[in-house]
């Protein structure tokens, strides 16, 4: 299926990416290209390198790229700071959103949004204009306005934290979003809200990478491609039915692929 001719250039191109932390190799040559409008899913056992992959794309300082390239809109971004990646349109939805006591959610969202807007040469928003914008976006994730006056993620339930992530995605309007287990810890209703939010935000110009363990998110958001990761490598790529097969047969089934390769 990778042979299908693509009409436009890829948003994200990861070539043979290897990375380590504390001299321990985590990624061992990952290649992946995401074109506009595509949804990719990455599945795999815990500890296979999925979350690390997402953090490295976002620029986490704990990991060293030992080989390979990350290209975003054709530019190599290996050495860009995390904030530069965010400003230019890369979004990471955290598996465990971080609590930041004392910093108001509203102010955090505003500073973040303005950093992106500044990069896009758009006018930065004052408190009042931002209020208008954020009200509109709150609808997407069905969040109450009261969340804005609390500290960032502090005391939020698991589901509220994930919705807050999608709210940030809605405000930042990224070119590519990598959502790390955004579905974990959500009940069915919350999952639907989050999934419909992601669908509303994404369009023919954006790319999405869903990192997940479960089919239920992929029932809501149908991926174009499913990649199976094991021990820091993508060992199999297929279409959406691969996820169904995986759900049925379990990861043990994928162990055979490693032997083959």
């Amino acid at each position: 299926m990778q042979s299908i001719m693509k009409e436009s250039d890829p948003i994200l191109e990861v070539e043979n990416l290897s990375a380590s932390t504390d001299n321990r190799p985590i990624l061992k040559g990952v290649s992946l290209s995401v074109y506009p409008g595509e949804i990719h899913a990455i599945m795999g056992r815990n500890g296979c390198g999925k979350s690390t992959f997402s953090k490295i794309i976002a620029g986490h300082p704990s990991y060293n790229i030992t080989d390979g390239d990350i290209k975003f809109l054709g530019e190599n971004i290996n050495s860009l700071e995390p904030e530069e990646r965010s400003q230019s349109g890369i979004f990471l939805g955290f598996q465990y959103p971080i609590e930041i006591p004392g910093v108001s959610n509203l102010e955090f969202l505003r500073v973040s949004t303005n950093a992106r807007r500044k990069f896009l040469n758009k006018e930065e928003l004052d408190t009042f204009d931002f209020e208008e914008l954020v009200k509109e976006k709150l609808e997407i994730v069905k969040m109450d306005h009261a969340f804005l006056s609390r500290s960032v993620n502090q005391g939020f339930s698991g589901g509220e934290k994930k919705r807050n992530e999608i709210l940030q995605m809605a405000l930042l309007e990224p070119k590519i979003a990598i959502l790390d287990e955004t579905d974990s810890g959500l009940d069915i209703d919350a999952l639907r809200i989050v999934a419909s939010g992601i669908k509303k935000i994404s369009n023919a110009q954006t790319g999405i990478i869903l990192i997940t363990h479960y089919q239920r998110l992929l029932d809501e958001i149908k991926p174009n491609y499913v990649h199976v990761m094991s021990d820091g490598r993508i060992i199999k790529t297929g279409e959406s039915d691969l996820a169904l097969e995986l759900e049925e047969k379990g990861y043990e089934w994928t162990d055979n692929f490693i032997k083959e390769t």
């Binding site: 976002a58 620029g59 986490h60 300082p61 704990s62 700071e81 995390p82 904030e83 990646r85 965010s86 400003q87 990471l92 955290f94 959103p97 971080i98 930041i100 006591p101 004392g102 910093v103 108001s104 102010e107 955090f108 500073v111 973040s112 950093a115 992106r116 990069f119 500290s151 940030q168 930042l172």
Partner: protein
């Protein structure tokens, strides 16, 4: 682990106020003895009661030992190697600002405290103190219309001797502690405030203390009296040039609140802190205490301590009046090799008295930041309450934070509540903010000001913005 280098870069602080004003000064010789004290008193043309007060304090000081219980380490101070009086040379009697040396006005201008009629701050009356003397006090006539007295303490000694004699040393007795005794013996200048009965001071009052000489100590003395049902908000700011020697600053502040009176005392302390190797900087040994003498009186301390090589300071409240209230809100930021041992004492004496303590310590670099506080419930303090919250934030892994809360209760029918926490700015938090487009420096500064919010909310508005900027400045630097 947070990337050490980048954190170090961020907390590196350019000290903006380190310049020296080149001005002719009148200094007396170094050293401390009875003759020096007599000379200071004579220069200030003081009445006899004050000279006696000084000499008595000096005798007590000679018998006292420098305290060593604080979690501070520093080279012994040679008290004979300090100049105890230094004043810019001026004309004998200054009748208006026009006669003040333009260099002095320029100095305060540069510090953001314009004093001249055209430029003075519109909503705050300022008393500007340069080394040992008060240079100017703005808005005096306007304040006088309300019966408010705001002048230097030297002037008050001349014009309001009765009030000085009645109240000086009644909150902080000369024998209170080593540094208070020293101050009582040699104090040079400072501010005096008197708010008459029923008057709400029409504007914020403020003193700005500037140390200019490298070899002279600053020993200012402030006295604020709020009569029945009056209220006042007082702000204090401080800076000093960068010297590679340590300068001693030992101040005494006394506040007195009568029935239903309230005093709000806010400090932004930004003395020179010394360089990265810990060379130079101010030794700040200060005794600040308020006496809630009247029923339902209230004294509120708020402080933002960012400077000094060493800070030894415990603004306290003596809660005598029934239902009187004491508050202490503090942010102390230390960096490099700075050391701070600061906190408060809330002494509940009267019944139904209430106190609140909120302390936020931030330590970066190799600095040491300690909270030391005492809450005491006396035998008559029935139905009294205290709430204390002491939080510490560590930046990097070389800094240290301590909390020493002392609690003494002699009254079973009283409540004391203490909460403490320590946190570290984690790499995960920084990465989270950065991954949302927020630059490293701004991320640190957002978290620090978030941490301090409970205290900043207590500061007067102009001051809160100032404090936020000051912390951001202290945490500013080039990253990467």
């Amino acid at each position: 682990m947070v990337n050490e280098n980048s954190v170090k870069d961020v907390v590196k602080e350019p000290y903006k106020y380190g310049f020296i004003t080149d001005i002719e000064t009148e200094k007396i010789e170094k050293g401390l003895n009875e003759d020096i004290i007599k000379l200071i008193s004579q220069k200030k043309e003081e009445p006899k009661f004050l000279l006696d007060f000084r000499l008595k304090a000096f005798k007590k000081w000679q018998k006292m030992k420098e305290p060593d219980w604080a979690a501070l380490g520093y080279k012994k101070i040679d008290y004979q190697d300090i100049i105890y009086y230094s004043a810019p040379k001026q004309k004998e009697k200054i009748s208006s600002l026009d006669e003040v040396d333009p260099k002095l006005l320029e100095t305060f201008d540069k510090l953001g405290i314009p004093l001249t009629e055209q430029k003075k701050l519109t909503n705050v009356a300022v008393d500007a103190v340069f080394d040992s003397v008060s240079i100017a006090t703005t808005f005096r006539e306007e304040l006088a219309e309300h019966g408010v007295i705001f002048c230097s303490i030297s002037e008050a000694v001349k014009n309001h001797a009765d009030l000085i004699e009645k109240y000086l040393g009644t909150v902080v007795p000369a024998s209170d502690n080593y540094f208070a005794a020293l101050n009582s013996a040699v104090f040079s200048d400072g501010s005096f405030v008197y708010i008459p009965k029923g008057v709400t001071c029409p504007m914020d009052l403020s003193s700005y203390f500037r140390i200019n000489s490298g070899d002279s100590g600053q020993f200012e003395r402030t006295l604020i009296i709020a009569e029945e049902s009056s209220s006042v908000s007082y702000l204090e700011g401080c800076t000093a040039p960068m010297f590679d020697t340590n300068t001693l600053h030992a101040a005494v502040v006394e506040l007195i609140a009568l029935d239903d009176a309230s005093i709000k005392y806010s400090t932004v302390q930004n003395w020179y802190a010394g360089d990265e190797e810990g060379i130079g900087g101010i030794f700040n040994f200060v005794t600040k205490r308020g006496k809630c003498l009247g029923k339902r009186s209230k004294i509120s301390w708020s402080q933002v301590e960012t400077g000094s090589a060493i800070t030894w300071k415990y603004p306290s409240c003596l809660l005598l009046g029934e239902e009187s209230v004491g508050e202490f809100y503090s942010v102390a930021l230390t960096n490099n090799l700075q050391q701070a041992d600061t906190g408060t004492k809330m002494i509940h004496i009267g019944p139904k008295t209430k106190s609140t303590i909120v302390s936020k310590g931030i330590s970066a670099g190799n600095s040491k930041n300690s909270y030391r506080g005492l809450v005491k419930m006396g035998t008559k303090a029935t139905g009294s309450r205290n709430y204390s919250q002491c939080d510490s934030m560590l930046i990097g892994d070389q800094a240290s934070a301590n909390t020493f809360p002392y609690i003494k209760s002699q009254q079973p029918n009283s409540e004391i509540e203490h909460e403490a926490s320590t946190c570290r700015i984690s790499e995960d938090q920084l990465f989270y903010l950065q991954s949302r487009g927020i630059e490293f420096e701004e991320a640190v500064s957002m978290m620090v000001s978030g941490f301090c919010r409970d205290v900043f909310n207590q500061l007067p508005m102009e001051f809160a913005a100032e404090a936020d900027k000051l912390l951001a400045l202290k945490l500013e630097g080039s990253v990467g």
